[in-house]
């Protein structure tokens, strides 16, 4: 059977930062695939390397950071071989990015219309009038009331939720095949967060876009993504279908996170906490990065760093997880 080539294929991607005390490896050999119109969630704590992974895909890591190794294939082509000009044709055109703070993305001294036309004209040879028509259409898609009037307004005239809708509309302008959304609702209130995530989910389905959703919020990701990759200390600890991660997490870190959710224990009782905290990436321990906090740790975990391999229904990087499907790897 012929398998369709994935839209995005990240292979052994590593990103490092040159620091005073040496080199900090923020992303350490991360690999995953994302098929067309599929939604993948990348979850982890701050410093786990999830945002840096998102930036590295678009080759947007700036000094002192650098891509230390690996490849990113988009539609089968290695982005590392692209010239800066070819990259510009990918960024904001074939792949759009949505950030946490809409005010960081929007230019405060230009109207929404000007910004949208500017984006379109950078990527397409079209007239201003045509660009405005597309902009209007996209504002309608993100459910902004009276879009004609809104085109002439400045970002400060919108509420936080409306601004994030506009950022999404701008991301949609060029009909990209992939959207990378980095904590798109973290700065928003919960009622607005639900609205925005629902909008993003519906748009991805309607427009057949793939989504890489980067967030720390397990609940949000489980509502939107079809597959989830859990990152810990710069590596993927576990990758599987949302259903598998929710119902049968394999990695002790994922298990710990899920067990620590307040709804897992009776009200007013102690929560199941994971002891300790994530190790500093500058002093990465030789074995498994989760070793110190792990309940299942064995002798091998201290010596040897586990690779992400197929076990049971998903991929997991843990020596102690048994594969019960009968296949023996290695």
């Amino acid at each position: 059977m012929q398998k369709q080539e994935p839209l995005l294929s990240v292979r052994e991607l590593s990103v490092a930062f040159k620091m005073r005390g040496g080199v900090l490896t923020a992303v350490d050999g991360v690999s995953f695939d994302l098929d067309r119109s599929q939604r993948l969630g990348l979850v982890g704590e701050s410093g786990a390397g999830k945002s840096v992974t998102g930036f590295a895909i678009l080759n947007l890591v700036s000094r002192p950071g650098y891509i230390a190794g690996g490849h990113v294939f988009f539609e089968g082509r290695d982005l590392a071989t692209f010239s800066e000009e070819e990259m510009r044709n990918i960024r904001g055109n074939r792949i759009s990015m949505i950030f946490q703070d809409p005010m960081m993305t929007l230019n405060p001294v230009l109207t929404i219309g000007q910004q949208m036309v500017e984006t379109l004209k950078a990527h397409r040879h079209i007239s201003k009038h045509e660009a405005e028509k597309i902009a209007l259409n996209k504002l309608q898609k993100v459910a902004i009331p009276s879009p004609e009037k809104r085109l002439t307004q400045y970002p400060h005239e919108f509420s936080g939720g409306m601004r994030q809708r506009i950022v999404i509309a701008i991301a949609l302008l060029t009909s990209p095949s992939l959207i990378i959304a980095d904590e798109p609702t973290t700065a928003l209130d919960v009622t607005i967060q639900a609205d925005i995530m629902e909008l993003l989910l519906n748009l991805c389905e309607e427009e057949k876009m793939a989504l890489l959703l980067i967030t720390h919020d397990l609940a949000v990701v489980s509502q939107v993504a079809e597959r989830i990759a859990v990152m810990y200390a710069g590596r993927i600890a576990e990758l599987g279908s949302t259903e598998a991660i929710v119902n049968a997490p394999q990695h002790p870190y994922t298990q710990g996170l899920l067990k620590a959710l307040p709804q897992k224990v009776e009200r007013r009782k102690r929560l199941n906490q994971i002891p300790g905290s994530m190790p500093s990436l500058q002093e990465r321990p030789p074995g498994c990065a989760f070793y110190d906090r792990c309940e299942l740790r064995g002798e091998i975990c201290h010596r040897e760093s586990p690779r992400l391999v197929e076990k049971n229904a998903g991929l997991v990087a843990c020596h102690m997880v048994k594969d019960t499907t009968g296949k023996e790897e290695k």
């Binding site: 701050s46 209130d189 629902e198 720390h216 224990v265 906490q273």
Partner: protein, 337 residues
Amino acid sequence: MSDFIEIKNLVKRFDISGGLLEEIRFKGGIHRKKTVVHALNGVSFGIKKGETVSVVGESGCGKSTLARCVIRIYRPESGEVFYNGKRVDNLSSAAIKPWRAKMQMVFQDPYASLNPRMTVYQTLLEPIRFHFRDVSRSEADDRVAAVMKQVGVDPDWRKRYPHEFSGGQRQRISLARALAVKPEFIIADEPIAALDVSIQAQILNLFMDLQAEQGLTYLFISHDLSVVEHISNRVVVMYLGSLCEFAGTEQLYTAPKHPYTRALLSAIPQFGSEGFNHMRLPGDVPTPINLPSGCVFHGRCPHADERCRREIPAPITEADGRVVACHGVEEGRLEWL
């Protein structure tokens, strides 16, 4: 049991007009106009001893202002705060000092709330020396070591500076600073919002353990509705400076009555549920500068009628003990009642 902390009709406004020139308006002749943020519009509720009451609401609803008025960082415009039956909101800065040792506050950002140039030891010693002048040095040292142990930070680290600790450890130190003067009542303003998921559970457990050991009373401010559901005995829901609903946690989460509470609770991200089925509220939160007439929620409420637009709903205590401020609930015309 009477209330240990009683908050009555608290009103707080902030004048943000700036200088004289910014106040001048030229419409219809020259006149001055003040710009005022109505942060709290008459909020009342009580906290029993040993209880955790949480305040939830979206950003800008006045929950942090409320916390700061209760501990008198802000002086409220009107209203009263009683601590164990004694009115404390009108005391002078000198007169409130003994009460300050009984009520302490933990802030959201453990990076901003610890002085980077003070060691942990200095940070923890300061409140002890300030509130208890006659405590000897060695007693104070013992107290510092004791609170560090209580919050799970090794007392051998007392010579270290805040930057040497992780976010979770810093929040432990913030809590230790609050505990150093043996308070009875702790106000925690979003104490876990800045922490990572795997650390949040540790700090919440610490809060609950300390309450069990020392019978502490908590006023917990948070926007995380799942966390609030877990740790609270009772919950206050606020919207635009006004109290919407005040009820026992179980009551509130299983059968919310106020339309805003219902919308808010429906928007909690549900782990493991695919897609969304929250209640969509039309429009945005209005600005607290020009408050809507009548009920502050009427512009977004699907059940608002003429009375809601005209008349501010009074908080009414229901038969089951909860307090709801909603004309629709009072009139019994909402379909879920």
